[in-house]
């Protein structure tokens, strides 16, 4: 069966046979960068279209349906439009920071791609502190947003950026604690080991109620971290027109837009990896027959299926809930989610020490 693993292995063997190890590594790096950029472009197109279709379905309308069959080329056409548009820089803006900000946001999203296991043995960088790496890098995205808000020299942008700063910094905590519950259960920070530990069942099912709570907390926290409704205060368009990216146009705006979707994708992949077993097929204990059938579905399909399920969940939130107010948002985190997270972590630690999980 053709799997991603065999493709990577063949490529590497071929490269090593032809070139010296250093050159082979360089070529591999170039291939990886190209693939990452392609993935970003494709994801941007797919996720935007998906969002519009999901929204349309929820809102009893059709959504894009003119460009291409079923409107599948709509986002491509939109991208073309955005590329052709002039990227305005306001006169009074801090030009350097203003132009840098979208790239910072984008770069952070790209860096997060490194330790994610897309399929069995298909991972760019299996770093032994994978989860820690993700937590630390993802908190950098706030810098790009603050930069954009400040450099725009626009009051709406500034308000949006300040909101975003407060929000991301607060919700980082809950997300971090939710991630930690799995680390405590697995005893490892490495992504590949976390996935391997779920061979006989996903943590969501193995870990009793505390892990379910952690999963819910994680979904809430990352929705807030990625500035998605109902936590989209940073760009609350009925209050702040467009928040931190009010002044951006053309491709620079598109980068923010793309980064938002990439971030959603990444947090969903992490959620899938930690709670839903990553690329691991659905295995139930010792049901050998069942497990064997599940193994026939390629690991990449499992991974993408889980990720897109979570993405759909986050999109569903956006089109159902109204937006929270800024003080309610912070109250929710500091008064409810954080104490629950702390207590939940304690519970999980007890479960892990006593070995009560399956």
């Amino acid at each position: 069966m053709l799997s991603l693993e065999s493709i990577t292995k063949t490529t590497q063997d071929w490269l090593l046979a032809k070139f010296s190890p250093q050159i082979a590594l360089t070529i591999e790096c170039v291939i990886v960068i190209l693939l990452a950029i392609t993935l970003f472009a494709v994801l941007g197109l797919v996720l935007v279209l998906l969002e519009r279709k999901v929204a349309a379905r929820i809102q009893i309308r059709l959504g894009p349906n003119r460009v291409g069959p079923g409107g599948i080329f709509q986002t491509a056409a939109d991208t073309l439009k955005l590329i052709m548009k002039e990227g305005l820089t306001p006169d009074t803006a801090d030009k350097f920071l203003f132009n840098l900000a979208p790239f910072v946001v984008m770069m952070v999203a790209m860096l997060l791609l490194a330790p994610i296991a897309f399929a069995k043995n298909f991972q760019i960088w299996d770093i032994n502190i994978g989860v820690l790496y993700i937590s630390s890098i993802s908190s950098l995205s706030v810098i790009g947003i603050l930069m954009a808000g400040w450099a725009s020299n626009n009051k709406y942008s500034l308000l949006g950026a300040m909101r975003s700063g407060a929000q991301i910094v607060s919700y980082e905590l809950s997300a971090g604690f939710a991630v930690l519950t799995i680390v405590v259960l697995t005893g490892s920070l490495q992504i590949s080991e976390i996935v391997a530990s779920q061979e006989n069942g996903w943590w969501l099912f193995k870990g009793h109620i505390p892990v379910v709570i952690a999963f819910v907390l994680y979904i809430i926290a990352v929705t807030a971290e990625t500035n998605r409704a109902p936590f989209d205060l940073a760009e609350a368009e009925s209050e702040l027109t467009a928040g931190f990216h009010t002044e951006y146009s053309g491709m620079k705006f598109a980068l923010f837009f793309l980064a938002e979707y990439i971030n959603i994708f990444i947090v969903c992949t992490i959620g899938a990896t930690l709670f839903l077993g990553g690329w691991m097929p659905l295995h139930i204990g010792h049901w050998e027959g069942f497990n064997h059938i599940m193994d026939f579905i390629p690991s990449s399909v499992w991974f993408m299926g889980k990720t897109f399920f979570l993405i759909f969940l986050i999109m569903w939130f956006r089109w159902t809930f109204p937006r929270l107010r800024v003080d309610q948002l912070l109250n929710l985190e500091w008064k409810y989610l954080l104490p629950i997270s702390l207590f939940n972590l304690l519970l999980v630690t007890v479960i892990a020490i006593m070995g009560w999980h399956f």
Partner: protein
Amino acid sequence: MYNQTEIIKDTTNLGPEGELVVNMGPQHPATHGVLHLVVTLNGETIKKIEPHLGYIHRSIEKMCESLTYRQFIYVTSRMDYLSSHINNTACALLVEKGMQIEVPERAKVVRTILNELTRIASHELWIGAMAMDLGAFTPFFYAFREREMITDIMEETCGARLTMNYIVPGGLMYDIHPDFQTKVKAFVKQFKEKVTEYEDLVTGNVIFQSRTKGVGVLTAEDAISYGCSGPVARASGVSCDIRKIAPYDAYDRVEFDEIVETAGDSFARYIVRVKEMNQSIHIIEQLIDNIPEGDFVGKTKNVLKLAKGEFYQRVETARGELGVYIVSEGGTTPYRIKFRSPGFSNLSVLDHIAKGSKIGDLMATMGTLDLVIPDIDR
């Protein structure tokens, strides 16, 4: 330009205590049109709101001074474009009162039905727009599904979907469309089924409730002092329904409740409007099967002339009390006309009730005041 709050171009020069002056509007997604609010902020907290009007002022009052009593009704459709039928009714009633024109029963009943349909359509749009202000997009489309049926009915009967101009002094311009009754009944049936969807999606939503409960509280005394009317005043416990106080058309023969809530917050204003839609449906149900046969327009002279004197007519639009005040010198045109628009008074209370709250609360408060800018500017 403005001597108190300048439109600050240089952001480095903030207010005396580091206050931020933000121009909300005239182009802003939440001001629904061209309302311009100069908002003074301290962080996220609102210190002062100052409305600047006039971006859509068409000097309707001056214009009406040179229009005849048949013509000036058409201009009023453009005031509160969401209640254009009711505006037309107010003007027609005033001319009828001034000239003692007898209106046929058929016209009265049809006018009442159309007025209530307009009220429902207006509240539907309001629910959608208000939910959108709070960041929920989906209710907008649900509300528009039913509103679309009303606009279709209007289109069939009046020939227009927004500015109907269907009501003329003496009755109606044309007779109703033969399908009118079946279409309205179909609408009533669908509305009754689907209204629970908004309840599920909006009313019971925890976030929606926490965003609106206790936000923008308007006390009954303030509502009276600021001259608020319509759902805004009724949510504060002030009974002010003109349909009850001074019934016009067929309102004296239908049975309906005046919805009065006492909380006075944004949620109460929301509830009042939702319940009012149900009452409107109730009114339509009573009348739709009992449209009397006969003429649709009474006998009027070709040239309308009001007697010398002053006339005032009040009606209840979707937003509150619309008053038309005409000073007549006995000619074919009004000497002076004044429209007491509900939105104008409701807007004046905004600064008072939104001061000290957060920007997000301003959206909830402003949304529930249901401002229509052409109605305020006239």
